[in-house]
């Protein structure tokens, strides 16, 4: 882990001002930000760990917990909101049994809502592992979850 962090930091020439992009790359590498990796970043950049922790918790892009195999991001930009994104969020939350920003216990699904993705013509937009699904509605979102193997996506008998 330390080696990997070192490579990433070298890519930015050890420049502290790149802390946010560095953390982004670290997160990409490990799917989340493990504590050890953050400590390595802190030591190697000579930035106090309290400041690293401050940055990690301040920016919404970072996660201190592992993310699920399927990462669902629902656009909550204004265009999607006025087209009913909130109802879709409610549907996904109730099917997965988690709240926005959480991951299912089996680490299968993470669900987050995001600011505008800039695909407003397709709104509401649901992104699953980077793939865009446009003109989303409640029924379609149920179908997608079912396809991804969420048991009981249509019936009500889930765990």
């Amino acid at each position: 882990m330390e080696q990997k962090v070192k490579e990433i930091i070298q890519h930015y020439h050890g420049d502290k001002s790149y802390l946010v992009p560095i953390l982004q790359d670290v997160q990409k590498e490990f799917n989340y930000l493990p504590k050890d990796a953050l400590c390595a970043v802190s030591t190697q950049l000579s930035v106090p760990i309290s400041r690293v922790y401050e940055v990690v918790t301040f920016y919404k892009a970072f996660s201190l917990k592992p993310k699920g195999r399927y990462q669902l991001s629902l656009c909550m930009g204004t265009a999607c909101h006025v087209r009913g994104a909130e109802l879709i969020a409610g549907n996904i939350e109730s099917i997965l049994g988690i709240k926005e920003g959480e991951t299912t216990e089996d680490l299968e699904f993470s669900f987050e809502t995001v600011g505008c993705l800039g695909a407003c013509a397709l709104g509401p937009v649901l992104v699953v592992n980077g793939e865009y699904h446009g003109h989303m509605n409640i029924a379609k979102s149920t179908k997608i979850l079912k396809k991804l193997g969420k048991k009981g996506a249509t019936d009500d008998d889930q765990d």
Binding site: K16, S17, Y18, L19, V20, P21, L23, Q24, V47, R51, E54, V55, F58, Y59, K60, A61, F62, M76, G77, T78, A79, H81, V82, R83, G84, L87, G90, N91, S94, V114, G115, C116, L117, G118, A119, C120, A121, L122, G123, V125, Y132, G134, N137, I138, A139, T154, D156
Partner: protein, 618 residues
């Protein structure tokens, strides 16, 4: 381009050579691969075109270009065929072969792919005749469809970097600044501050080095024009920055980009690399001895980082907390050095001003706002997309002539401008010309140029709650009025939408708003009450309906509505009973269904599924 261009003359001859090598009559397929179109799966179409052209040995004879966003995102995937500019929209991913065989080889038009003007029912063949484009003035944004963002040659072939050559070889820095002041270029990122004056202050400030920054944070939910510029024509933004840096006397620039914009980051990174190799960036630019380089930094997902002092904190590798600005950034900005921050679109306007002159530029627009503005027109609108119009264009023209009006024959209710802390403008102001000052007068603002159209089905209290909630989650938390006050406003709004509003709430909201505007540390808090104030100003009756009569006139606020089925309209198709997750919607086949109010969770699934508009929400 691998060798450095050593002078303006050399640049001109390269441009000439590139231009001459391009036969304007040669057939060429142009296809938009902006983020919006890619979301439709357009990459597959691109691959198909490439494969089909290769199969027919046509790669030499027929040009093929992928470009950034053309703005008409509603109609993607989009293909334009030169020289006649035949416009195909909603192109199927498998349509490549047919387009090549019929249109390019035989000159036949494929009727099914043409755009139908909903106003006249007529098919439109040429891109320029599409009403959406026809009524725009696509000055800055129009270049997107002429260049492949990955190709410096494309940009040079349309005369790119001429303005830079002109500025570096023929103009003094002070003269450049005077030109920008004379053009009255105002910042496109929100405040509308005159760019020339800002440049002038930074130039005159004491301190070294001086920084030039491009604000590409674009955190405004519902706006994506900055992304489309950076993504579709990165060299234009870069050229503006280099000219600005020369005028200001800066040798280091930054682009602060939203991490959610990977394609924009990729394209601008490539453009920077290309410009360096061509001697347009880096040391001794165009052989003039001027040095300037640009670094890219990515944000971490925080709206407040668009605010200048928070942006500097983020660029320095810290949490994005603003600080009070009694000393201007032009004196003490990034690392406490003189810093000039401008928005992407502001920078993109600069080459036009230098190339064609301030007088020409100032001839576009209104008395106080010059040039054009790109808006992202979204929400309840037929033609979702990016539109560029001269300042002063009437809202009605934007919404109805360009935007094609509201879908489903619904009634226009309001248009929200200025981003999350902007305001909602009601119908009575539709004939107002849009510019910085007019929008401020009626309690909204230009912001970065988001325009969200709302119809009769949108509840204005809910809209106010939505924006306020966004700002609550984006407040940095440093100062009390914003951190605690906006949250309390949100709670009161939530109460109102849940039927728990109290007599006097509206007045309390107004009182809090005034104190938050006065008391907050940065512009996020200073403007956070705007959505509430503007909806109270123009839609007070909706607030009263929620508070006094516990009714949501638009049928949005869950606690105040009931779902039922109109027996007259219901055909007993059973669709609603299939989608209803709780079994509330039920009935016998071919007989009118009904909803059990006790079971109904108001999730909206039935309404969405019903093909007969039989679900009543009241």
């Amino acid at each position: 381009m691998t060798t450095k261009i050593k002078s303006f003359d050399e640049l001109k001859s390269i441009q000439e050579r590139l231009k001459a090598g391009r036969d304007p009559k040669k057939p060429c397929i142009t296809i938009c691969v902006g983020t919006g179109c890619l979301a439709y799966g357009t990459q597959k179409l691109v691959d198909n075109f490439r494969a089909e052209l290769a199969k027919r040995n046509l790669t030499e004879k027929i040009g093929f270009r992928t470009t950034g966003c053309h703005g008409f995102c509603e109609r993607g995937p989009m293909v334009v065929i030169a020289p006649d500019k035949i416009f195909y929209q909603r192109v199927g991913l498998e349509d490549a072969a047919e387009i090549i065989d019929k249109t390019l080889l035989k000159g036949e038009i494929i009727e099914r792919l043409l755009y139908v003007d909903p106003a006249t029912g007529q098919k439109v063949t040429r891109e320029d005749d599409v009403p959406f484009y026809k009524k725009q003035t696509r000055l800055v944004f129009g270049l997107n469809s002429k260049v492949d963002p990955e190709s410096l040659d494309d940009y040079l072939a349309i005369g790119g970097y001429t303005a830079l050559g002109k500025a570096l070889t023929g103009m003094k820095p002070e003269a450049i600044i005077q030109e920008v002041i004379k053009a009255n270029l105002r910042g496109r990122g929100g405040g509308g501050f005159p760019a020339g004056w800002k440049w002038d202050s930074t130039r005159k400030a004491q301190g070294d080095p001086k920084y030039v920054i491009c604000n590409a944070d674009e955190g405004d939910p519902g706006a994506y024009m900055d992304r489309s510029l950076l993504e579709g024509n990165p060299h234009l933004v870069l050229e503006g920055m280099i000219i600005g840096a020369f005028a200001i006397g800066s040798s280091q620039g930054y682009i602060y980009a939203r991490n959610e914009y990977p394609l924009a980051i990729k394209n601008i990174t490539l453009a920077i690399e290309q410009a360096r190799q061509a001697g347009l960036l880096g040391e001794n630019i165009l052989g003039t001895g001027f040095n300037f380089d640009v670094k890219i930094n990515r944000g971490g997902g925080a709206f407040v980082c668009g605010e200048s002092s928070a942006l500097f904190a983020s660029l320095e590798g810290r949490a994005g907390e603003p600080r009070a600005k009694y000393i201007h950034a032009t004196d003490k900005g990034l690392y406490d050095k003189p810093t000039n921050l401008n928005n992407v679109e502001t920078w993109a306007n600069v080459p036009f001003i230098i190339d064609r002159g301030a007088d020409w530029y100032a001839s576009i627009g209104t008395a106080g706002s010059k040039g054009t503005k790109i808006f992202s027109l979204v929400g309840k609108i037929n033609n979702t997309g990016l539109v560029e119009v001269p300042m002063g264009t009437k809202l009605r023209e934007i919404v109805f002539d360009i935007g094609g009006g509201i879908p489903g024959g619904k009634k226009f209710k309001a248009i929200q401008t200025g981003g999350p802390s902007g305001g909602c403008i009601p119908e009575q102001y539709l004939d107002m010309g849009v510019d910085f000052d007019e929008l401020t007068k009626i309690g909204s603002m230009m912001g970065s140029g988001g325009m969200i159209v709302m119809d009769e089905d949108n509840c204005m209290v809910d809209v106010a709650r939505y924006f306020t909630n966004f700002l609550v989650s984006e407040s940095c938390g440093k100062c009390v009025p914003c951190r605690e006050g906006v949250r309390r406003m949100r709670d009161i709004l939530a109460d109102i939408t849940e039927g728990k509003g109290q007599e006097g709430d509206v007045e309390l909201l107004e009182k809090m708003a005034a104190a938050i505007i006065d008391g907050s540390l940065c512009a996020l808090g200073n403007s956070a009450p705007n959505p509430v104030l503007s909806t109270i100003r123009y839609f007070r009756d909706e607030y009263e309906a929620h508070i006094k009569h516990k009714r949501c006139p638009a049928g949005v606020c869950k606690a105040l509505i009931l779902y039922s089925i109109d027996p007259e309209k219901c055909t007993g198709c059973t669709l609603c009973s299939k989608v209803c997750p709780t079994g509330a919607a039920a009935g016998e086949r071919k007989k009118a269904h009904a909803i059990d109010k006790a079971l109904c969770t108001k999730c909206g699934a039935c309404r969405e599924s019903c093909k007969f508009d039989a679900i009543i929400v009241r």
